[in-house]
């Protein structure tokens, strides 16, 4: 296949950045999207140009490192698929593909397609854990968890922290990310003691980081590569309401 790529190039945080077109021949349908960018970068290096910087690591859809807004959609056109798992068989000869970074005030661009997502770590720091110091744990079998709860908690816990939800949201809200953790821990008996303090602190941190508010557009779940359900947000809101009532 022959493709035209329009890629966001930005030297560093201070550079205004711009779209730059590249032509690429000989793209195989079996390549992954990132392998296609590898091919471009190999050529750029030999030609003495700066290769395109993009984040990636596991390349199997689990580490959450890869990003990219492809033709306007975070992680591209295939549902429930990270950019690294997207394959070129979903494109066709002659396509023009635009590639941009996540765009959100709380995720500043570092270079080209690489953004700073450390705000997510700080939301977890605010309360996204169970306080269980090493060694203090009771025997594992002493805490049964109903299978349905374990399933639902697991579904929420599969969030890979990639930030696509933020990139897709018109308000750049981090609600789905935060709600996934609230739901995971809130459904487990281990998460109960800190449940209401957790939701208050995490939401406060989310606001402090400059993420926007949630207006229920649902764009987040639509692009989530792990299909984190929208109900997690209702769960967060319910917990937050209870927490506020408790506090007052």
């Amino acid at each position: 296949m022959k493709l035209t790529l329009k890629i966001w190039r930005q030297k560093n945080a201070d550079d205004p950045g711009r779209m730059v077109p590249y032509e690429l021949d000989d793209v195989s349908p079996d390549m992954s999207f990132l392998e296609m960018l590898d091919v471009l970068n190999e050529r750029l290096i030999v030609e003495g140009e700066d290769p395109v910087a993009f984040d990636h690591d596991c390349r199997e859809g689990i580490c959450g490192m890869c990003s990219l807004v492809i033709d306007g959609t975070p992680h591209g056109p295939q549902q429930a698929t990270t950019t690294c798992q997207l394959h070129m068989r979903h494109f066709k000869d002659g396509d023009v593909i635009t590639i941009e970074p996540w765009r959100a005030a709380a995720f500043p661009v570092i270079k080209d397609l690489v953004v700073d997502r450390s705000a997510f770590d700080r939301i977890i720091q605010a309360g996204g854990y169970v306080s269980a110091p090493t060694g203090s744990a009771p025997e594992a079998a002493s805490i049964p968890v109903p299978q349905a709860d374990a399933h639902a908690a697991f579904d929420a816990a599969t969030c890979i922290g990639c930030g696509a939800c933020v990139a897709a949201c018109p308000n750049a809200s981090a609600m789905l990310f935060t709600a996934a953790k609230i739901t995971h821990l809130g459904l487990m008996p281990q998460g109960q003691p800190e449940r209401y303090g957790r939701v208050t602190a995490m939401v406060a941190q989310m606001d402090a980081e400059g993420f926007g508010g949630c207006t229920n557009t649902g764009e987040c779940t639509a692009v989530c590569p792990k299909g984190i359900p929208f109900e997690t947000i209702s769960r967060l809101n319910a917990d937050l309401l209870k927490a506020t009532r408790k506090a007052s």
């Binding site: 798992q85 110091p133 090493t134 908690a153």
Partner: protein, 646 residues
Amino acid sequence: MSTVNLFTDGEPIRDTKAPEGPVEQRWDKRRFGGKLVNPANRRKLSVIVVGTGLAGGSAAATLGELGYHVKSFCYQDSPRRAHSIAAQGGINAAKNYRNDGDSIQRLFYDTVKGGDYRSRESNVYRLAQVSVEIIDQCVAQGVPFAREYGGLLDTRSFGGVQVSRTFYARGQTGQQLLLGAYQALERQVAAGTVEMFTRHEMLELIIVDGAARGIVARDMVTGEIETHTADAVVLASGGYGNVFFLSTNAKGCNVTATWRAHRKGALFANPCYTQIHPTCIPQSGDHQSKLTLMSESLRNDGRVWVPVAKGDKRDPREIPEDERDYYLERIYPSFGNLVPRDIASRAAKNVCDEGRGVGPGGLGVYLDFADAIQRLGRKAVADKYGNLFEMYERITGEDPFEVPMRIYPAVHYTMGGLWVDYDLQSTIPGLFVIGEANFSDHGANRLGASALMQGLADGYFVLPNTISDYLAKGPFPKVGDDHEAVVEARESVTGRIERLLSIDGDRTPDSFHRELGALMWEYCGMERTDEGLRKAIDRIRELREEFWTRVKVPGENEELNQALEKAGRIADFFELAELMCIDALHRTESCGGHFRAESQTPDGEALRDDEHFAYVAAWEYTGDAPVLHKENLEYENVKMVQRSYK
């Protein structure tokens, strides 16, 4: 061809930290014998932990909880992205919840035997003991393990064992365990005990008066070369499987942290022990940048086969039963599809070498779920393996519910690593090594679901206890940024970076990496020979020279520069690759993940040579021919036998 002076023999080496006496009492004895640090003194002591995977993440969190001042480093943008996140299948523990005859003794025995009698008894026994505490710890953190209807923990049997002792969280066990450790780590960051340095790459170890006292790290965003000092350094930087370029490891996995420590005096043990995993998705073309593992739990229900006839190109669904060769079930009737990884991988290679492989290039075998779907129903199969099937379909465009999967072996794990004693301390005082980065527990072959166990055992339970014996000698004299050793380490890093940037040749870093990887796969992969290894060593040396004259690294240091990051890692892989080949060459026996064609039984199975090779090969760096130090392995509790899975 290389013939003489590839290495020289040195003094034997010994673990002096494991107490004498019955193996089951050694860990208690060691903890009692080790010195403790008074809680009030802990915050005056600092520890650097490089790596935030299961090993490093759990260690940093636990050391922080104990009150030490911890600096934690990773090259990704968040500690949660360490490569442990990708582990799929599960984690072993001798809980015996199934009442199927499991025990600490059996887990110990299985691990020693699975490791083909090349691991240390004391360490493995401790691992089995600690395994039960790991599950307790992770459950308390809220890790959503799979559960039975009654709400109790579910287990499965995994990768070559006959008891059901593997705990799992669907096909994402590593992710869930790592998120548990990550959350514990972030809790300590919030508490102020752990300082986190993301997008930082360790490029050198700082040694002062013979002890590890810090690291040189590059801020991967600004390019700044920073020095960090501490009272002790812990390396938890993972494995070096990416020396093969194509592997199931994440793209950034590298040997730099451990290799730099090796160059500064830490012995490197058993570098040639590489695990080749039997169930990976075959390569689809030259553009391939990595290989994807399909969890080996699939072998519990999938049946492995190839056509009986060579070059049979029919649609697999049209090949009748009697024209299929379920070769694992045929050759190994008692273990069948569940034989250990080394055996399953080599068997796949053999049938492909015979011309009976399937898929592109004939490098693949079928893993067929048709029977399981019929027996258990589509839903049950989807519940167990749904996400793996989806992953397979995403990559290959084929649906395993309809067409059998194609799989082929790929490099997956490295049993070798820096040599450590029972305290997990390397030969450099104050330098501790945990997780995949050390060599200690898996011998020549690792059993499935035991790397996660080892990483968490080391990080949560072993290191935090053993490191206190060392730190109790502190606090050590402060080391300033202007200390001679610090300045020298920093300058060597900047010098190397300048050199890489100034070559300005005509070949990309990746092109060298691919070539090196192909060479290693050919000569130091599933099957090794004297002749091939010598050829490889010559070729690696030539290629390394070429790298240092022809590599092209664009841009500058003072920016995010991914080509520069790669080039630095590849430079270290070149040196490691040579040592791996020397190690493989000197070990003329076959054992575990190391199969020497010259050493096999009449029916083609690996032939170990306990008389000459029952030792750990610990290599000393000299800049020239490495020096071999042997640690003799003694088995008091397990009888050494030739493994047989027939």
